[in-house]
Amino acid sequence: NAGVTQTPKFRILKIGQSMTLQCTQDMNHNYMYWYRQDPGMGLKLIYYSVGAGITDKGEVPNGYNVSRSTTEDFPLRLELAAPSQTSVYFCASSYSLTTSTNEKLFFGSGTQLSVL
């Protein structure tokens, strides 16, 4: 099983450039998430989606946009890259939003982004 697939794995951007981080999952999960991980820090939630056509802001949404046109795909868009967006980005998915059934987050392998 492929699980959660992220592309690209690495990217260097210049300040002001834009790019889209791709994320796709083949587990038919309803819920998808984007996190960023700064060195020595825990993961911070950027945006999440509870299903196709629905997205919500997480803890650190500024500077990012998302869309969810299909169940499988949840791309993250950076419109005007800034050095503060240098980080490792993780996409994740889960079947449900609640933890009542111990639903677990499944993570992709990450995208390392540097903005110079």
């Binding site: 959660v4 819920y31 998430y33 020595g40 820090m41 825990g42 993961l43 911070k44 939630l45 999440y48 997480g58 993780f90 994740a92 889960s94 449900s96 939003l97 609640t98 933890t99 111990n102 639903e103 677990k104 987050l105 993570f107 992709g108 392998s109 990450g110």
Partner: protein, 113 residues
């Protein structure tokens, strides 16, 4: 504010010894806790979880202990192996927050052969 944190950023143990990784949390509304393992270049992987109505939960070579009185969570790894070398994160899930997890900063476990 509410936060999840770790006592030790780096832990170095001898192969075969037991490892204990600690985590403090401050959100008294959290009722679900998870430990994740993150190997270099990979995304976090679920290890074990525990609900607040339990004090202890065991898996294969891993045990999670929860002390609600002092808001402390620990992960014990028995007979640590080189493959256990990774960064370990604790995460908490406040009640009724869905799958919105708050992650700690991580502890790096280094296993010496």
């Amino acid at each position: 504010g509410e936060s999840v944190g770790l006592h030790l950023p780096t832990l170095s143990v001898q192969e075969g010894d037991n490892s204990i990784i600690n985590c403090a949390y401050s959100n008294s509304a959290s009722d679900y806790f998870i430990w994740y393992k993150q190997e270099s270049g990979k995304g976090p992987q679920f290890i074990i979880d525990i609900r607040s109505n339990m004090d202890k939960r065991q898996g294969q070579r891993v045990t999670v202990l929860l002390n609600k009185t002092v808001k402390h969570l620990s992960l014990q790894i028995a007979a640590t192996q080189p493959g256990d070398s990774a960064v370990y994160f604790c995460a908490e899930n406040p009640r009724d927050a869905g799958n919105m997890l708050t992650f700690g900063g991580g502890t790096r476990l280094m296993v010496k052969p």
